[in-house]
C-alpha cells in the first residue's frame, strides 16, 4: 500500500493496537519545560510511579524566564519557584536540564533542533502546542496536556487515535520580501483556524522544498494555529545537511545509516490523503493580522474585510480597527522579534538586512529576543548585534518573552505590537495589548518607520 510520510512514521511507532481504534504510540523524545511539567511530576509521585525513560527526556527553562540579568536570581517569586521546581524534579529523576544561563538554554522548539536532538522519523512530544515545529524534519511532533506529560513520564507512550491526514501543496516561486511566515499566515487566513482540527498536515511542493530548515520550522510551528496537531515536511538533503555534525546528531557511519533510512520516509507517489489543498506561491504577499486569532490575516496592502458576525465585531472592537480600514500607515509603538516561530538566526539575519544603516523611529520600543543561547551567540558572532544596537533596538536574552508575556516583557494595555510570534489572542502579550502578527522583515520595517508600511513598494 502507498503510504504518506505521516503513515510511515506513525506506523513505525505503534506498540499495540487496541479495539475501538485506539493505539499505544511510542514516543522517542519528550521535551519538558517549567510551566506544564510540575503537576505531571506530582502526579507520578503521588502514585509512586518512577519516570520510565529519563534519558529520552530533555528539559529547558523558557516560558517564565526573564530576558535581562539572567545571571541574577529571578525576581518574581512565583516564577522563581516554578524554575526551582523544574530543577529539583530533573535532578531527582536524572533528566538533562538546560537551565537558565546554560549555553544550550532556549525555547524548547529552538533548542532541540539546533542541538540535533530533533531528527527525521522520530515521534516527539512536549507540553506545548508549538511542538509541531519539529515536524519540519519529517518527525511526528505534537503538543500534549499535562496529564499526557505524566503518561509519557510513566510509560514513554500515549494512547491515541490516529489522526486523519491533510496535505497542503504550494508550488511556484515566492515574490521578493515574502518570507516563510507570510506563507503560513496566508494559508491560515485562507483555511481558517479550525480547518486542520483532527488532522496531521504535510506541507509539500516546491516552495517548501526550496525553503531553509529555519523557514520550514516557522511553517510547521504554526500548524496548530489552523487547528492541526502537527505539520510535517519530507526530509531531504537540506534536512540532512542541517543535522550533520550537530551535538546530538548521529555521527560517522551511524549518520549514513540513519540517512539511508530517512530517505525512505517521503510520501509515496500516489498515496492518498483525507484532505488536500493547493496554493500558488505567486498569490502570496507579505501578510499581517488585524484581529484576535491568527486566521484573521490580510495581505499587507489589503483592507480589513467586512464580516457581519458578533465574534468578528468583538475582535475588531478589541483591536480598535474598523471594517474596510487599511493598516498601512498605522502608527505602532512596539515591535517584538522573537519566539519559537521567528527567533532563529535566519530571522535575525532578515531583520538585520533591512535595518542595516537605518535607525528605528523614536517612539518605537523594539525588542529582539533570540530563541536560544546559541542564536544569541550567532547574532554576536555574525556582527548583527552591532547593527541592531546602532539602530536603537534592544537585544535581550533568550526565552519566550513577549510571545506570551509570562515574565516582565509585557506590551502595555491598548498598545499595538507588531510581533513575529504566533498568536494574536486578546491579552496574549499583556492585558489589553493588541497584537499584529507579521514576518521579521515586516516587523523590522515597522520599527524603522514607526508605522506599518507597504513593504511590497520597497525593493527588499
Amino acid at each position: 500500500m502507498k503510504k504518506t510520510l505521516f503513515d510511515k512514521v506513525w506506523d513505525a511507532h505503534v506498540v499495540k493496537e487496541m479495539k475501538n481504534k485506539l493505539q499505544i504510540l511510542y514516543i522517542d523524545k519528550h521535551l519538558i519545560h517549567e510551566v506544564t511539567s510540575p503537576q505531571a511530576f506530582n502526579e507520578l509521585e503521588q502514585r509512586g510511579i518512577p519516570v520510565f525513560r529519563p534519558e529520552q527526556i530533555v528539559a529547558t527553562a523558557d516560558h517564565n524566564t526573564p530576558t535581562t540579568d539572567q545571571h541574577l536570581p529571578v525576581k518574581d517569586e512565583m516564577s522563581r519557584k516554578q524554575l526551582e521546581q523544574l530543577n529539583k524534579n530533573c535532578a531527582k529523576n536524572n533528566i538533562t536540564l538546560y537551565d537558565l544561563g546554560h549555553k544550550y538554554n532556549g525555547i524548547a522548539h529552538v533548542m532541540a533542533p539546533e542541538l540535533g536532538i530533533t531528527q527525521p522519523g522520530m515521534t516527539m512530544v512536549c507540553g506545548d502546542s508549538h511542538t509541531s515545529t519539529h515536524g519540519a524534519f519529517g518527525s511526528i511532533a505534537f503538543g500534549i496536556g499535562t496529564s499526557q506529560v505524566a503518561q509519557v513520564f510513566a510509560s514513554q507512550c500515549l494512547l491515541l487515535e490516529k489522526p486523519k491526514s491533510l496535505r497542503i501543496t504550494v508550488n511556484g516561486t515566492l515574490k521578493p520580501g515574502v518570507l516563510p511566515k507570510d506563507v503560513i499566515l496566508y494559508i491560515i487566513a485562507k483555511l481558517g483556524t479550525n480547518s486542520g482540527t483532527g488532522y496531521f498536515c504535510e506541507y509539500a511542493g516546491t516552495v517548501f522544498e526550496e525553503m531553509s530548515m529555519e523557514g520550514r520550522m516557522t511553517v510547521c510551528n504554526m500548524s496548530i494555529e489552523m487547528g492541526a496537531r502537527g505539520g510535517m515536511i519530507a526530509p531531504d538533503e537540506t534536512t540532512f545537511d542541517y543535522i550533520k555534525g550537530r551535538e546530538f546528531a548521529p555521527q560517522g557511519e551511524e549518520f549514513d545509516k540513519k540517512t539511508a533510512y530517512w530517505k525512505t520516509l517521503p510520501t509515496d507517489e500516489g498515496a492518498v490523503f483525507d484532505q488536500e489543498y493547493h496554493f500558488k506561491a505567486e498569490d502570496i504577499e507579505p501578510m499581517i493580522t488585524f484581529g484576535t486569532n491568527p486566521g484573521m490575516g490580510i495581505k499587507i496592502h489589503e483592507n480589513i474585510p467586512a464580516e457581519d458576525n458578533a465574534s468578528f465585531e468583538k475582535s475588531l472592537a478589541y483591536m480598535d480597527f474598523k471594517k474596510g480600514q487599511s493598516l498601512v500607515d498605522q502608527k505602532i509603538n512596539y515591535v517584538f522579534i522573537g519566539s519559537c516561530t521567528n527567533g532563529r538566526i535566519e530571522d535575525f539575519r532578515a531583520a538585520a538586512n533591512y535595518i542595516k544603516g537605518k535607525t528605528k523611529a523614536d517612539h518605537v520600543t523594539a525588542w529582539l529576543v533570540p530563541g536560544s543561547q546559541q542564536v544569541a551567540k550567532q547574532i554576536e558572532d555574525e556582527g548583527l548585534k552591532d547593527i541592531f544596537e546602532q539602530a536603537g533596538f534592544q537585544l535581550r536574552q533568550p526565552g519566550c518573552s513577549a510571545c506570551l508575556a509570562m515574565n516582565d516583557d509585557k506590551i502595555p494595555e491598548g498598545e499595538y505590537c507588531v510581533s513575529t510570534s504566533n498568536r494574536n489572542f486578546e491579552g496574549r502579550q499583556g492585558q489589553g495589548a493588541r497584537t499584529i502578527l507579521a514576518s521579521p522583515l515586516v516587523a523590522a520595517a515597522t520599527a524603522i518607520n514607526g508605522k506599518i508600511i507597504d513593504i511590497t513598494k520597497q525593493a527588499v
Binding site: N20, L22, Y26, T36, Q82, G127, S311, F425, E426
Partner: protein
C-alpha cells in the same frame, strides 16, 4: 478523577466563537506548581473590568445564569496546550462544556480531568442559546450512558459522540496512566524489537 454518569443542570451561555485558552486562563496565572485554584481565574480578563471591578455583563457574573454546564460558541478551546484551561473550567465547577466544535487538545485535556466536552450540531447549539435566553433556568440533561443531551423545557434532544474508551474512563473515574503502565511488557518488547 471524579466519576461522571448523568447530570441535569441549568447552563451558562457564552455565545462567542473561537474562545482560546488564553481567554480561559491567561498566561500570567500559569505559575502555580499544583492544580488548585485555577477556577478563580477562569475567563479572568472577561470577568473583571480593567479597574479590577466585576464586569456584570459577562454571563459568568450575571446572576440570572447558573449551573455546571457551559454552552459556548464554535471552536472552543483553540490555542495553547495548557491543561490549566481544563483545570480552570473544572475548578470553577463546570462539568460539561457544549459547543459545535472543540479544539483537539482542549477536548483531550477536558476528558482527562473529568469534564465532558459535548459536540452538538450548529442548529442544536442555536436552539440551546435561544432556550437559555428565553428562560435562564431551563434545565439541560446530559446522559453519558446513552450519549444524549436534552433541553428538557423544549423536549428537544441530540445524540453525541464519545469514544467508548473515554466513556468508560469517565464513568469509572479511570485515566490513561493506569492503562499504559499495565502495558509495560508490550512497551519493553517494542523497545527491544527496535534496538
Amino acid at each position: 478523577m471524579d466519576k461522571f454518569t448523568k447530570l441535569t443542570s441549568s447552563a451558562i451561555p457564552l455565545a462567542i466563537e473561537n474562545i482560546d485558552t488564553d481567554q480561559i486562563i491567561p498566561a500570567r496565572f500559569l505559575k502555580a506548581t499544583d492544580k488548585e485554584g485555577f477556577g478563580e481565574n477562569l475567563f479572568r480578563d472577561w470577568r473583571f473590568n480593567k479597574d479590577g471591578s466585576i464586569n456584570t455583563e459577562f454571563p459568568l457574573n450575571d446572576k440570572t445564569y447558573s449551573g455546571s454546564i457551559l454552552v459556548a460558541g464554535d471552536n472552543f478551546g483553540c490555542g495553547s496546550s495548557r491543561e490549566h484551561a481544563a483545570w480552570a473550567v473544572q475548578g470553577y465547577g463546570i462539568k460539561v462544556v457544549v459547543s459545535s466544535f472543540f479544539a483537539d487538545i482542549f477536548k483531550g485535556n477536558a476528558l482527562n480531568n473529568g469534564v465532558l466536552p459535548i459536540q452538538v450540531s450548529p442548529a442544536f447549539l442555536e436552539e440551546l442559546f435561544a432556550e437559555i435566553k428565553k428562560d435562564p433556568t431551563t434545565l439541560i440533561e446530559v446522559d453519558l450512558g446513552n450519549q444524549k443531551i436534552t433541553i428538557l423545557s423544549a423536549d428537544s434532544s441530540e445524540d453525541f459522540d464519545i469514544s467508548d474508551y473515554k466513556k468508560t474512563c469517565l464513568i469509572n473515574g479511570y485515566d490513561d496512566i493506569d492503562f499504559l503502565v499495565s502495558n509495560k511488557d508490550d512497551i519493553e518488547a517494542f523497545e527491544g524489537s527496535r534496538a
